[in-house]
């Protein structure tokens, strides 16, 4: 390990190096930064899994919506409706 420890700091989209210390102080600061980085990674992984779990649990809704949409459209078409300008209207039967 380098005897000098620099910490990367992000400021306004730019990354600059910040001198922390050397020797034992530098090593402790480096270990603490590494610990925080791992905690952040673990937390991000946890929330990612949580998000995926929720999305999988609700995935059936997509199937349900598509099914309802197809059956509704088919039912309205055979019941004598047609879609005009985004609105369903009854087809006028000619006398």
């Amino acid at each position: 390990m380098s005897p000098y420890y620099y910490r990367s700091v992000r400021e306004g989209g730019r990354v600059r190096k910040e001198y922390v210390g050397s020797g034992a102080l530098g090593e402790v600061a480096a270990a603490l930064d590494e610990l925080k980085r791992r905690q952040r990674e673990e937390e991000a992984a946890y929330w990612r899994e949580e998000r995926e779990r929720l999305q999988r649990s609700a995935a059936f809704l997509q199937e349900l919506e598509e099914t309802a949409q197809i059956l509704t459209r088919a039912q309205l078409l055979v019941s004598g409706f047609h879609k005009r300008n985004g609105e369903w209207r009854r087809i006028r039967e000619s006398a």
């Binding site: 937390e43 991000a44 929330w47 949580e50 998000r51 779990r53 929720l54 999988r56 649990s57 609700a58 995935a59 059936f60 809704l61 199937e63 349900l64 919506e65 598509e66 099914t67 309802a68 197809i70 059956l71 509704t72 459209r73 088919a74 039912q75 309205l76 078409l77 055979v78 019941s79 409706f81 047609h82 879609k83 369903w88 009854r90």
Partner: protein, 183 residues
């Protein structure tokens, strides 16, 4: 957990209905009568399968919302049953049943999201609090669920209105006044 989905047979039937609907919408009269036949033949099976799927999905959402509390699970199940019968009403058509399932399922999702968000707003230790990125995703998802719920309710109302042949709220009145003779 494997995502819940319809069987291949149901999906094939839906694809056929979609294809025939496209043709019928484009004025193909034969496709319209074929669509009528296909719809009559496949609707009960597809609706039954979709309802089963919805109920299984609701159970998953209920388990998440109840967080292992059997009483809460039972209460939510009963609430969904009540909601289902209130929305479907007496003697619903297969389509009304399906749209009811859709409304109930999306309602359950919005409830779940509300519950989880309320838990986050309580006194949780910092380690259990949502990250900002997750919260942003979460609020977006909640908004989407609300939109889906409103759209599902509108869809059922529209189908009922159209099927019952009740005219739109908008009524155009035309009065023809004949000119007096000689003018």
């Amino acid at each position: 957990m494997k995502a819940l989905e319809l069987s291949k047979e149901a999906k094939d039937q839906l694809a056929e209905l979609e294809d025939l609907s496209d043709k019928a919408a484009n004025g193909d009269k034969q496709a319209r009568s074929e669509l009528r036949r296909a719809l009559r033949a496949s609707t009960p099976a597809v609706v039954a399968e979709a309802s089963t799927l919805a109920k299984k999905g609701e159970c998953v959402l209920i388990k998440t919302a109840a967080a292992g509390e059997p009483l809460m699970e039972e209460a939510l199940l009963a609430r969904l049953g009540l909601l289902r019968s209130e929305i479907a009403g007496p003697d619903p058509s297969p389509l009304e049943l399906l749209l009811t399932e859709k409304i109930v399922a999306v309602w359950m999702l919005t409830e779940l999201l509300e519950l989880l968000l309320n838990a986050q707003l309580g006194d949780l230790p910092k380690s259990q609090r949502m990250s900002h990125r997750f919260l942003k995703f979460y609020l977006g998802w909640q908004e989407q669920a609300h939109r889906r719920l409103l759209s599902a309710i509108r869809e059922l109302a529209r189908v009922r209105r159209l099927e019952s042949r009740i005219p739109n709220a908008q009524t155009n009145v035309q009065i023809n006044v004949s000119k007096p003779n000689g003018d």
